[in-house]
Each structure stands twice: as C-alpha cells, then as structure tokens.
C-alpha cells in the first residue's frame, strides 16, 4: 500500500475517527524503513500512477505483534481504571 492509500485506509477503517495530519505519516514511514520493519518499492498503481508501495517485513510483523499486545494491555489497564472509577 502506498502513502496516500494508507491515509485513506486509516480514515475509512476508523470511520473517520482517526484524523491524522496526512504529512505526519511520512516521517513515521522513514523511521520504519530505517529499522527495516517495512520495505518500499516503486510500482504503478491501478489508477496508472507511479507510487511507492510499502510492505511489512517479517521483522515488522513481529514488532507489530509486540506493539499491539502492549497497546492491548495498556487499553485493558485504562479500561479497568476507568470502570472502577465509575463504580
């Protein structure tokens, strides 16, 4: 998926809840590239446009799993704290 598509994807999947400044995606992508968590290739898109497509590497998948489980725990914690506050 290329940068623009990624932005659209995030918007659609989050029902427009996550509105990021589109540009801020790029520094993040460069950092991922540097850490070899994603790799990038120039391809021609369906709309016949030269785009740079990113793919997650194996290392990237592992890293993602770790981060997701960390986020899950954090959310779980947050949820617990908030629910006890209500009661």
């Amino acid at each position: 998926m290329h940068g623009y598509a990624l932005v659209q994807h995030i918007k659609q999947r989050s029902n427009n809840l996550l509105q990021v400044e589109e540009g801020s995606l790029y520094p993040a992508l460069q950092r991922l590239l540097k850490e070899d968590l994603v790799k990038a290739e120039w391809e021609v898109s369906a709309s016949n446009r030269r785009v740079r497509t990113y793919r997650v590497t194996t290392a990237g998948i592992k890293h993602l799993e770790r981060e997701v489980s960390r986020l899950d725990r954090m959310l779980e914690g947050l949820f617990l704290v908030l629910s006890t506050d209500k009661s």
Binding site: H2, G3, Y4, V7, E21, E22, G23, S24, Y26, P27, L29, Q30, R31, L33, K34, D36, W42, S47, R49, R50, V51, R52
Partner: protein
Amino acid sequence: MSWFNRLFMRRRIYSELSEEIQQHLAEKIEALMAEGMSRDQAEYAAKRAFGNVTRIEESAREAWMWPKTESILADFKFALRKLLHSPGFAVTAILTLAIGIGTNVVTFSMLNGILLRPLDVPRPESLLQIEENESYPDYRDYQDRNQSFTGMLAYKIMTAGIGIDHSVSTSWGEAASGNYFDVLGLQPSLGHFFHASDEHGPASAPYIVLSYEFWQRSFAASPQVVGQVVTLNQHPFTIVGIAPQNFHGTDYFFWPDYWIPQVNAEQVDGWEDFWRNHRSFTVLGRLKPGVREQQAAQNIEAISRQMAKEYREDEGLTRTVRKPGAAGNSDDPRIKALFGMAILALLILLAACTNLASIFAARAADRSVELAIRLAIGSSRWTIVRQLLAETVLISLIGGLVGTLFACLQLATLAHFSVNDFPMHFLIAPDLRVYLVAIALSAASGLAFGILPARQIWNTDAIQAIKNNAVSAGSFRRFAVRDFLLLIQVAACTLLVTSALVMVHGMVQRLRAPLGIVPRGVTLARIDLKVAGIPDAQSRIVEKACWTQRLLSLE
C-alpha cells in the same frame, strides 16, 4: 542496509521522499477535483490537509541522520565560512598559534630524541653506564669482580684514515671490548660480529664491523663486502659483518662508522690502552635479572674503592652507575640548556595563547550584537558557545598543523647539522609521540583560551546586549579578563625578550673571549701522518720537521 551504504544513498533516499510526497499531493488534488473542487481550491485543501511540506520532509529526513554529529559538522562548516569572511583575523590567530606550537614541537622533538628515546638495542632498560670514563685495566677489574652484571663492555671513540681500494679518507669509529655486541645483544644484518673469544693479546683480532650507514655509503650495500680487507692507518682489517640498521652505537650524538676490537686499537691509533690512568673508555654493563640499579651502584662503588687501595693510579677512585646516554646524566649542561629551552618554548606558547584569547575576546565583543540577536530569536547559549568553540578548535588545529610543518622543516636542517668530518647526528625527526604532543598542545591551548569568550556569552543578557549596543554587554567583566590576559602576555614577553638578549649577549661574549693570543692572520692546519701508517713516535718527529721547514720558509 549498513550505515556506510546509507551515508552514500542518502541523496537518493531524499529525492525519493520528495517525489513520494509530491505524488501524494497530486493524488489528493485529483481526488478533491473529482469531488467537484476547482484546481486552485483542491491544491489549497490538499496542502492544508497535508501540513507544512518542508517541515515534514525535514523531519522525515532526520530519521536517516545522526543529529549530534551532523550538527557539529555543520558548526565546523559555519566556522570555516566565518573565518574565510575575516581572513585578517584568521591569519593572525593561526600564525600566532603556529609560532607557539612550532617552537614547542622543535624543543619537544629534541627532548624526545635525546632524553626519551631508548637505545636501539634489545632490553635497553637493563643497561647501566659507569658514570665517568675508565681505563681499560680498570674495566677488566670491574668485569671480573662484579656480581651485578651478566656482562660489561668498554669502548672508546677513535679516528683513523680508512683505506678502501687504495683511497684513504678520515673516519671515526670505536675500539670496543670483544664482548661488545654480545653484551648489547645485537644480531648482525650481514656476516657476524667479533667476540671475546677472538682476542688473544695485542693485535690478535684484525676484524672490523661496519655500521649500516657506512656500508651503504662506502660499499653501496654490496653483500660481497664480508671478507674484504680495508686498512686503518695502513693496517689491514677484515670486514666480518655489518651492524643492524638502526644501531648507531650507544652515544646519542656520535654515530661510529665501524667497530674494531680494542686489542687492535693500539697499532692503529698509537695509544697504549694498558695504562691504568689512561681513562678514555666508556663502560656499560647489562644487569643480571632481578638486580636493581641501587645494588649495582653499591657493587661498583665497592669495587672502585677496592681498586683505589690496590693501585697507586686509582687513588681516591669512587665510581657509581647511571642510565646510559644523556638521560642518565642530569648534570650535563647540555641537558640543562635543553630544559631551559623547553621552558622558554612553553612561555612562548603561553604568550601566544594569551594573545589568541585576547583576539578571540575582541572578536566575540565585535560580534556581541549578532550573538545577542541569535540568543533573542531562540538559539540556546550552548549552541552559540559550541559554534564559537568550533571556530577556536578549527583555528588551533590549523595553527598546530602550520606550526608542526614549520617545526619539521627546522628539524630537518638541525638533523643535518655536523661539525667538519665528525659523524655527529641528531636523531630528532618528529615521531608519533611528537605529533601527539603537538595535537594535544594545540587542542588544549585552543580549548583553554577559547573558553574565555564563551564564558562572556554565557553571562550575556540578550535584551541588555541589544539595547545597549555592542560594547557594553557584560563589558565590566570582560575588561577585567582582558587586562589580566594582557598582564600575562606582557610578563611572558618581557621574560622571553630578556632571556633571548642574555643568551645572545652570552654567545657574543664567548666569541670575544680572550684566547691569550691574537688570532688575526692565523691559519689552522693539521698534519696526521698516522693515516699513512707511520707509527706515532716517528710521525711526531716528521710533523715537527715539516712545521719547522714551513715556518722557516714563511719567514
């Protein structure tokens, strides 16, 4: 991707990033236009949604940088540009420091070459020298009676006419005890050495070992030289070997051309070495493992006292040991002069550095408005100080480099300094140690004295500085510092000029010292018939006759 590849691929990475962002914007604009916006509206909306393109590109690039290193590099680049803008300041500062560093490199090289450099023999630290010259019989007694040394050697400097293929030239060599090379632990670079076992009484070992340089110079490094015969004052000697390349004897200035066994010296130079009061030999000993210098000194002292009792010629003799060469002889006036010179050189550096600090302080004061503006628009003090320091370090390194270059040129001339045909050499070519000292001196002086203006900046109040114009910012303190610098500078320079004048005055006095004769119109001549193989006693008679004849004919 390794960091090394990345460094060179950065340009590509950056251009790909730019292209990618442009593509993103184009795609967005197209999408917006498809929703019914005009091109202008779409462009505007796309850019708003994207954010500041330049800033985002920069922060994306940062992922690939080493921010610390690169900002330091940028500091240096900026400093270089600043210096190029004010060449007058740069040249003054660099030359000031070059003089300071240059003089120090010269004196330190000399100290290094004369005092710090060990002898080029295996385990030089276990060699000790008897403090004063001894006679050959006394040497034999030390050798036989001591318990501290595995071996002791003796040598004296000699001069003779050396005949190679029927052409005779003056030469300087050493007459050494047979065990000379064995005690020093050397291996020949060609052939073999002479040994104690070769000596069987006077004139029993007509062997000669050539120094590597002499072999190169006089025999074009021919490997067939071993076994050839040369003559010393017309006496034949067989070349048995060539000394190692870096071995120049155990004296620091005198580099012998060759070594012959002492038992054969008398026939060459006519001196009878078997007199106990003929003290012309330097005696060195190789310490036994585990024996300390102190013990060896006591041992030698005891033997010398013993000999003083036994032999009339040795009456009152007490000897001790010291490290060989100039390093062991702290009373040597040459060493003292060298230390004096080193102190003067450090003073020159101090004067140069204080001068540098004043120049820098003045420059910082000149730039105080610029610096204040930079402070006011949000630059951190540390950034400004770091930038000034970069300038200082740059100047000190360039100054140090220029100074070291000058010093090397001067040292090269000094190294070729010689007196007539005497093979005197100063091994004072700068080595790694000298270069390290030069770098350390320049960096240290740059940092120490460049930090002074940095301190002013630290104390600058930006608002005050802009309001009050250039000069007054933190001026009270600065003038105090500058006055102090000036004071040091004047004091150091007065001292330097005075000592330079005293030295020159002393030299002139020496040249004018009364000789007891009037040297005007006098020509100095030397006749040495021993070179032609005529024995000493006879040659003296002939020489006398020659002179009388000549003098008579002059009248």
